[in-house]
C-alpha cells in the first residue's frame, strides 16, 4: 500500500477545500437556512406535527441529507474531473499508485468535506429548532455511509463526464428530484398508496428514513432495510469503479 500517495492526494484535495472554504461552507449553510425559514418557520407553523414531531424538527434530517448528497456528488465529481480537464491526471496515471489508492485518496477527501459540511448544517439546525438526537452513533454512521457512497457515485460521474455540463447533469437532473421526492420534507405515509410503492424504488428514501430514525427513533422504512440498501448502493458503486479502472474507461487510451 502506497500510504504516502493516499495521503498526498487526500491532503492536496483538502487544501483545495480549505482554499475555497468560504464558498464551500457558506453556500450550503445559507441555502439550508433558507429552507428552515421557508419550510420550518413559514409553512411549518401551519403544519402542526408529522408523526408526533414538530415539522421544523422533522425536516432537519432531510435537509442535512440534501446537502450531504449534493456536496458528496459535486465534490467527488469535480475532484477527479478537474485533473482530467486540465491534464494533470497524467501524473496520477504514471505514479506507482494502485487504483484503490487513487479512489481512497479522492473519495476519502470528498467524503470528509461533505461530512464537515453536514455537521456544520446540523449545527445550524440547532440554532433554528429544538433537537434531540436519539441515536448519535447511528446518526454518525448513516452520515458516514452516505458521504462515502455518494462520493463514490460522484467519482464515477467525474470520470464519465466529458464536459462541465455533463458534470452538473446528474446532480441537477437526477439527484435533486430524488431527494425532493425521497421524503425529505414529508413522511411517505402521507402519499397515496400507489405512490408509496413507487417511492420505494427511490434510494434516497432509505437514506432519509434511516437518518431520520437515528434522530427520532421512528421512520418510514425499517432501519435494517435502510442500512442494507445503503450498503448495496456502496457495493454497486465500488463494482463500477473497479470496472472503470480495469478497462481504463475514459482515463487511458
Amino acid at each position: 500500500m502506497n500510504l504516502q500517495a493516499i495521503l498526498a492526494i487526500y491532503k492536496f484535495e483538502m487544501v483545495r477545500f480549505f482554499r475555497t472554504i468560504a464558498q464551500s461552507v457558506v453556500s450550503p449553510v445559507l441555502s439550508t437556512s433558507l429552507y428552515f425559514v421557508v419550510f420550518g418557520a413559514a409553512i411549518g407553523s401551519r403544519i402542526q406535527q408529522v408523526d408526533g414531531i414538530s415539522y421544523a424538527a422533522f425536516i432537519v434530517p432531510g435537509l442535512v441529507m440534501l446537502s450531504v448528497l449534493t456536496q458528496s456528488l459535486t465534490n467527488a465529481a469535480f475532484g477527479i474531473y478537474f485533473p482530467k480537464f486540465i491534464g494533470t491526471i497524467y501524473e496520477i496515471l504514471s505514479a506507482p499508485v494502485s487504483h484503490l489508492e487513487i479512489v481512497i485518496g479522492y473519495v476519502g477527501a470528498a467524503a470528509t468535506k461533505s461530512m464537515i459540511i453536514g455537521l456544520i448544517i446540523l449545527a445550524t439546525a440547532f440554532a433554528f429548532v429544538d433537537l434531540h438526537i436519539l441515536h448519535p452513533f447511528w446518526m454518525l454512521s448513516f452520515l458516514v455511509l452516505t458521504c462515502l457512497s455518494f462520493s463514490l457515485f460522484g467519482f464515477i460521474i467525474g470520470i464519465w463526464a466529458k464536459s462541465f455540463e455533463q458534470l452538473n447533469l446528474v446532480p441537477m437532473l437526477i439527484v435533486t428530484p430524488l431527494v425532493f421526492l425521497g421524503g425529505s420534507f414529508y413522511s411517505i405515509s402521507m402519499l397515496p398508496e400507489f405512490w408509496q410503492k413507487v417511492t420505494l424504488f427511490n434510494p434516497v428514501v432509505y437514506l432519509v428514513s434511516g437518518f431520520r430514525w437515528s434522530f427520532f427513533g421512528q421512520a418510514d422504512v425499517g432501519v435494517g432495510i435502510s442500512l442494507v440498501m445503503i450498503v448495496v448502493f456502496l457495493g454497486l458503486c465500488l463494482a463500477v469503479i473497479g470496472w472503470i479502472f480495469r478497462t481504463g474507461y475514459r482515463l487511458k487510451s
Binding site: 504516502q4 486540465i86 491534464g87 494533470t88 496520477i92 504514471s94 505514479a95 506507482p96 487511458k252
Partner: protein, 308 residues
C-alpha cells in the same frame, strides 16, 4: 548488459484504428542521454506514454529496470520521472506544494532539503510560494521538471522540453540535463530541434510513422551518414565540366564559377588528390576551396524523406 529500459515489439492501435506504433524495439542504456527525433504524429509521445503507464499497449513488452511496466508497475514507475509536452499544472496551487504532492504521490517520504535543492537548481526557489498561474510559461515548464525530479527518478523522460522556450532557458535546461546525467540519471528526450539532439545526446533515435527507423550513436551516425562536400571556386567561369572529370559527379554552380564535389570521409579513398590532379591537368585555376560537413538535420531530413 541489458538496458535500463527495454521495449520489445511494442504496438499501439488506438480505438479509432490508427496504428501509432508498429512494433518498436528499443534498448535504452543506463546513464545515457537518448534523443528521439521525429516529425509530429510520429509516435514519440505514444512511446513515452506506454513506458510510463499512461497508455495501455496493444501488444509487446516493456521493462524498466527489469520490472514489467504492467505486472510490476509500482517498481517500474517509481524509477521514472515524466515531463509532459503540454504544460499541465493545477493553476491555483503553490509551487512548493505542487512539488511536495508529486513526491508524496510517488511514495517518497517528505524531504524538504532535497526539494529545496531541486528548486534551486531550476532557479525556482524564490518562487516557491507563488501560485502557478502567476508564473511565466518558462517558469511553469521548470515546475513540471521539478515535479518530475521530486521523487529522485533514475530515468527521466522529457517530452519536447524546450518547445516554445527561449534560448537562455533552453541552455539552462541543457545544463540541468547534463548535471542529471552526471548523477547517473538516464535521460530520454523527444525534440523537434535537431540542434538539441546534436548538442546533448549520446545516442539518437529517429521515429517516423510509428516505426523506429534507427538508433545510433550520435557521433557514429554523423560519421556514417554524414557527407562532406567541397566547394571549389574557379578564377575563370566554366561553361561545362571537362570530359576527363565526368566520373567525379561534380555539380557545376549556376554561373560556372564554382564546382561542388561530394565525398565520403569513411570511404577507402576520398578521391580528392586525383581530383586536384585532374583539375590541374585540365588547366583550371583555383580561387578558393571550402569543405563542409552535413549536420544531423540533413541526415534526419534524408531519413524521414526516404521513409515517406
Amino acid at each position: 548488459m541489458p538496458g535500463i529500459v527495454s521495449v520489445t515489439d511494442l504496438r499501439k492501435v488506438y480505438d479509432g484504428g490508427f496504428e501509432a506504433l508498429k512494433g518498436v524495439n528499443l534498448e535504452i542504456r543506463k546513464g545515457e542521454i537518448l534523443a528521439l527525433l521525429g516529425p509530429n504524429g510520429a509516435g514519440k509521445t505514444t512511446l513515452i506514454s506506454a513506458i510510463c503507464g499512461i497508455t495501455t499497449p496493444t501488444s509487446g513488452v516493456i521493462e524498466v529496470g527489469g520490472h514489467n511496466v504492467q505486472t510490476d508497475f509500482r517498481a517500474s514507475r517509481s524509477l521514472i520521472g515524466l515531463v509532459p509536452q503540454e504544460i499541465t499544472l493545477e493553476p491555483f496551487e503553490k509551487v512548493l506544494n505542487a512539488v511536495r504532492f508529486s513526491r508524496g504521490l510517488f511514495g517518497k517520504k517528505a524531504d524538504e532539503a532535497y526539494l529545496e535543492k531541486v528548486l534551486r537548481q531550476l532557479s525556482l526557489w524564490d518562487k516557491k510560494d507563488a501560485r502557478i498561474k502567476e508564473l511565466s510559461g518558462g517558469m511553469k515548464r521548470r515546475v513540471l521538471i521539478a515535479k518530475a525530479l521530486s521523487h529522485e527518478p533514475r530515468v527521466l523522460f522529457l517530452d519536447e522540453p524546450t518547445a516554445g522556450v527561449d534560448v537562455d532557458l533552453r541552455k539552462e535546461m541543457w545544463a540541468v540535463v547534463r548535471a542529471l546525467k552526471a548523477d547517473g540519471v538516464t535521460i530520454i528526450l523527444t525534440t523537434h530541434y535537431i540542434e538539441e539532439a546534436e548538442a546533448i545526446a549520446d545516442r539518437v533515435g529517429v521515429i517516423a510513422n510509428g516505426e523506429l527507423l534507427l538508433v545510433e550513436d550520435k557521433v557514429k551516425m554523423m560519421e556514417q551518414m554524414g557527407k562532406k562536400q567541397m566547394r571549389i571556386e574557379l578564377q575563370q567561369p566554366l561553361d561545362e565540366i571537362p570530359q576527363s572529370m565526368a566520373h567525379y559527379d561534380l555539380v557545376r554552380g549556376e554561373d560556372g564559377s564554382f564546382l561542388i564535389y561530394t565525398y565520403d570521409t569513411q570511404g577507402e579513398r576520398t578521391g580528392i588528390t586525383s581530383l586536384f590532379a585532374d583539375i590541374a591537368k585540365a588547366g583550371l585555376v583555383l580561387k578558393d576551396v571550402q569543405t563542409s560537413q552535413s549536420t544531423l538535420e540533413d541526415i534526419f531530413v534524408d531519413l524521414v524523406k526516404e521513409d515517406a
